[in-house]
């Protein structure tokens, strides 16, 4: 059987393109030339310490997650990759896991400030705030290098806060991000300052026992205890309660400043029976101690622990004690979390991120793709068939990994599989894969299989890129309107199955168009019939799921916002997909399109899907504000362009074949259109 060598050729070209993409993305995160002397660096944290600290719960953005998750996204936000690798003098390197980096920033800020962890996409952004950039356009910078421009960065950020996002240039966005990252970093960096520096007691402080220490610096906890027990504080509080707004005593001002600085880091105090959900920030401990709040009793002991650790960190000779102390601190926090029954999800959260299932699936699918490309060189040989079977099971395993990953997330969040834009990507990938593998079971001709493998690889690459670009926790807490598992499982999933099926139908149609374009296997009517049946059948599924999902969305809107339909952009996007499916099916009935026409239309449907899935989020108008996105315009228009190009090729095929048929030059062409199935 004469298989045209075109398919393997296309596949090889795609493989080369994919690997080029991979290596170029690797090249872009290459390390800077900066090298560290081993003795300049802080002592490494032991595996035990890292392992314990990763499991420490940390409340952030309303969710209690593992410290590993927090540090991972903190690093991803700054750096675009979630780990730090430092080049050492005399060769070799040392890599820091996210929590290792986090602990360095806390305990050794003077060392961590030299780590190149701030990603700058375009060095021009640095010129604008008066810094001398490195030679490379895109490079990583240390806090130390950015610190001189701190004021300019913050001033620029304040200025940009007034400018609407769509009017901000690319550089503006970068400066804004960089400024935010620097501020967030500083919060971590200064977190233990109070423990390191202590408090200077004002010379005129009138009450014992601090009076005798006036003018000297005492540990923070000692100053806090002294202040709480003093006449001065009692008088101030009494005055404040009676509505008198007299200025704070100087010592209280200093303590208040620490209280504010340490308020964001909320990994410290575990919940109590009084506040079951709240992991209060360290600042909250201080406030509770002063005002008699629920965590006040434990505050001094916990602050003293941090003070002791900060002193140990200053002396490299006592590193062993420091490690043991940090491990004990972590163990205490984990034990407290276990006691308050909030630990299970924290452990799952860390496990999910550590497992990296989507990343495994990504590389697995890429490998399968290459395997399949090889197997297609000689599809009917024994090893070709073996590779084919291997690919099938590999694809099943890959989608299994995605399924487990999604299920894991559902168990952690307690909500349906899709609650934000990121989660649409693995879900749509999984659904497209399931349908494609179903087609493979039906037709057993490897075409749906390769579609499944390509979808898996593309979807997982997209998920990775989106996560890195967004650089925020992919399980943020839900706005009130979304907190409904009933609607998340019905409306949101059916709409996204709709997207998946319409896109999958478009892919089959694109394959059809390419086959016709390159005149592959013109005698193989069965191949064309299979592609047409696939595209048409999947489009029908697409219609059902899109229609049901859209109307379900309307019913949800009628129960949450008081109207069934409001011509909101996200609603309109879904409607356009439904209308397009209906238009295509009726065009076929009306005789406007037959086979290639159907494929041209189905392929074009991908554009409407892209519009609804991504474009409406960029408009920043309407009630679906929880899905708003920014900065994807260029990529989106590129995708529209590619889809439209394929569609134009399909139109060209039709026109050219029509012309050939009319002039009667080619007798074989008539056989190409194997009846409108």
């Amino acid at each position: 059987m004469k298989k045209a060598p075109v398919i393997p050729a296309i596949l090889m070209a795609l493989a080369v393109a994919a690997s080029a993409l991979y290596f170029s993305s690797k090249a872009r995160v290459a390390e800077p030339a900066r090298r560290f002397a081993a003795e300049q660096l802080a002592p490494e944290w032991t595996k035990e310490v890292i392992d314990i600290m990763e499991r420490v719960p940390k409340t952030d953005d309303g969710r209690t997650k593992s410290l590993h998750t927090f540090a991972y996204y903190e690093l991803l936000r700054n750096r675009a990759i979630p780990s730090v690798r430092l080049s050492l003098e005399g060769g070799g390197s040392r890599s820091l896991p996210p929590v290792g980096w986090f602990l360095d920033v806390l305990f050794y800020p003077e060392v961590a400030n030299r780590y190149p962890v701030f990603n700058v996409e375009d060095s021009d952004a640095l010129l604008q705030v008066g810094l001398n950039p490195h030679d490379k356009k895109r490079d990583k910078y240390a806090y130390e290098e950015l610190a001189p421009a701190r004021e300019q960065l913050i001033a620029a950020r304040t200025r940009l806060a007034e400018v609407p996002p769509e009017k901000q240039s690319r550089l503006d966005l970068q400066i804004n991000n960089l400024a935010s990252n620097v501020i967030r970093y500083e919060e971590l960096m200064h977190f233990l300052d109070f423990a390191r520096q202590g408090v200077a007691i004002p010379a005129d402080f009138p009450d014992e026992p601090l009076k005798s220490k006036a003018g000297t610096t005492v540990p923070f906890s000692e100053a806090l205890v002294g202040l709480k027990g003093s006449e001065t504080f009692a008088r101030f509080m009494a005055a404040a309660r009676s509505g008198d707004r007299s200025p704070m005593p100087e010592l209280l001002q200093k303590i208040d400043l620490v209280l504010r600085d340490t308020s964001r880091i909320s990994w410290y105090a575990p919940p109590t029976s009084a506040t079951p959900d709240a992991w209060v920030p360290a600042g909250g401990l201080i406030r509770d101690y002063l005002t008699g709040g629920p965590h006040g009793a434990a505050a001094i002991g916990q602050l003293q622990t941090l003070e002791k650790l900060a002193v140990l960190a200053a002396d490299r000779g006592k590193n062993g004690e420091l490690q043991a102390g940090v491990a004990a601190l972590g163990q205490g926090l984990v034990a407290a979390a276990q006691a308050s029954n909030s630990y299970k999800k924290v452990a799952m959260d860390r496990g999910y991120l550590k497992a990296g299932l989507f990343s495994w699936a990504k590389w697995g699918f890429t490998l399968l793709f290459l395997l399949m490309a090889v197997s297609w060189l000689a599809p009917s040989s024994r090893w070709g068939r073996g590779l084919g079977r291997l690919s099938l099971w590999g694809a099943v395993a890959g989608y299994g990994a995605i399924f487990v990953g999604i299920g894991w997330r559902v168990l952690i969040t307690g909500w349906g599989p899709i609650t934000n834009i990121y989660e649409t990507i693995p879900f749509i990938t999984l659904m497209a894969g399931v349908f494609a593998l179903g087609m493979e079971m039906l037709f057993k001709n490897r075409i749906p299989l390769i579609v499944a493998v390509c979808c898996g690889a593309a979807g997982m690459f997209l998920a990775g890129r989106y996560e890195a670009g967004d650089a925020a926790d992919t399980m943020p807490s839900l706005v009130a309107v979304l907190r409904s598992n009933y609607w998340l499982w019905t409306h949101v999933t059916s709409i996204n199955i709709g997207y998946a099926t319409v896109l999958l139908a478009a892919i089959f149609s694109m394959i059809y168009i390419f086959c016709r374009l390159f005149d592959i296997t013109r005698q193989n009517a069965a191949l064309f019939r299979m592609l047409t049946q696939s595209a048409y059948g999947i489009l029908c599924f697409g219609l059902v799921f899109s229609l049901v999902g859209t109307v379900l969305g309307g019913i949800w809107g009628n129960d949450s916002w008081g109207r069934f339909w409001g011509w909101d952009p996200k609603e309109n996007g879904a409607l356009v997909i439904v209308l397009w499916c209906l238009a295509v099916l009726h065009m076929r009935l009306a005789g406007w399109i037959r086979e290639i026409g159907l494929h041209v239309c189905t392929a074009f449907g991908a554009n409407f899907c892209l519009f609804s899935w991504w474009h409406v989020n960029l408009l920043n108008v309407g009630l679906h504000s929880y899905g708003f996105t920014q900065g994807l315009d260029q990529k989106l228009f590129l995708a529209y362009g590619i889809v439209s190009l394929v569609v134009l090729l399909g139109v060209a095929v039709k026109v050219l074949e029509g012309m050939a048929l009319k002039s009667g030059r080619s007798g074989g062409v008539a056989g190409v259109e194997p009846g409108a199935g």
Binding site: L442, R563, F564
Partner: protein, 397 residues
Amino acid sequence: MADRLLAVLGSYHIAVVLFLLMILLTLVGTFSQKTLGLYESLRIYFVSWMVPREGWLFGFIPLPGMASVLAVMFVNLLAGGVLRIRKNWRTIGNVIAHLSMLGLIAAGAMSLWYKQEGHMRIFEGESSNRVQAFQDWVLEVQEPGGADRSIQIIRETAFRTKSPGETTVFHRGGWPFELKVSGYQRNATITTTGDPSVVPGARSVDGYTLRPLPVSPQHEANMAGVFLDVVDLGGQVVAQTVLAQVIRQGEIVTRGDAPFSFAVGGRQFAVSLTRETWEVPFSIRLDDFKAEYYPGTRKAKEYESQVTRISPDGSETKFRIWMNNPLRDSGYVAYQTSFDDQSPPGQERYSVLTVVKNPSDQWPLYSLLAATAGLMITFLTKLVRFLRRAAVSPSAV
């Protein structure tokens, strides 16, 4: 003859053209929301019979409005998808699906014409039966001491002129006067003539004038302003005023809907410019309002109003209203929309409920059930037939 007519009206060609038109209108209307805001894009594209000139494609291609496209689609569906379609066990699913779509379009028309919507702002411990419209301004005219104390309403659409230079004249039976409304601004505030931002020579009454403000795409943020001349039947101006809200630095300082009183022929009248309000046949008392935030953030996790519905006969029923869980009662639906998240805990807070009366409230649900059933029957029978054929002759690739 009737058959031919049905064939034309119900043809696939018309259906396809309508689908494509709907897609076009939806896309254009969606993008227009970026600049125009939802209210204007609704008016231009989605509830209009013909798209007005400002909304034409590229400025010169006229477009039909969504209302007329849906009306034609209704006819097309009825003729082609329900009446003319061959009816047998194979097409039963299709007929059901088409019928359900008719139901959806009808539901849309019903709510377009008969739906009433507004909001109720209730403080804890208080009760209300008055609902205020979100958007439409009205002039309310009343003779408080007269025999007929009913309020006459003039809607904004009636005095909404293209340019502030135009005047609209209103007269209702029993009035010994005419109301001349002029100087209409969609968004304006009252200011003194000394305000440097006022154009010199602009009309003023007793030293007060209107200062136009930029029209917001969020129509509910716009506050109309007008000049009012009361003219007796002899043509004499007996009273004049300027009506609008007084806004300073973005905040409403004085509610401009305090009535303006005037006397004509010994009778006392009052007119005010206000958002339209209407009454529901029961009162709602807010017993308690609860808001829960995610720990360490200002992001609301859940918020709910615990209310008591008080019937005209005085009987009381308790309900909870929270996100996604409205109160449905005697044709009205009350939704949790918003709340006071500024007041410190302990203080009395208010809750905002959206109240809707929509005769077609549940129609989409019934349509959906029918459509799902219909499509399932159609596609599943197709799938089964296809699989049977595939089993008989496996494809030879």
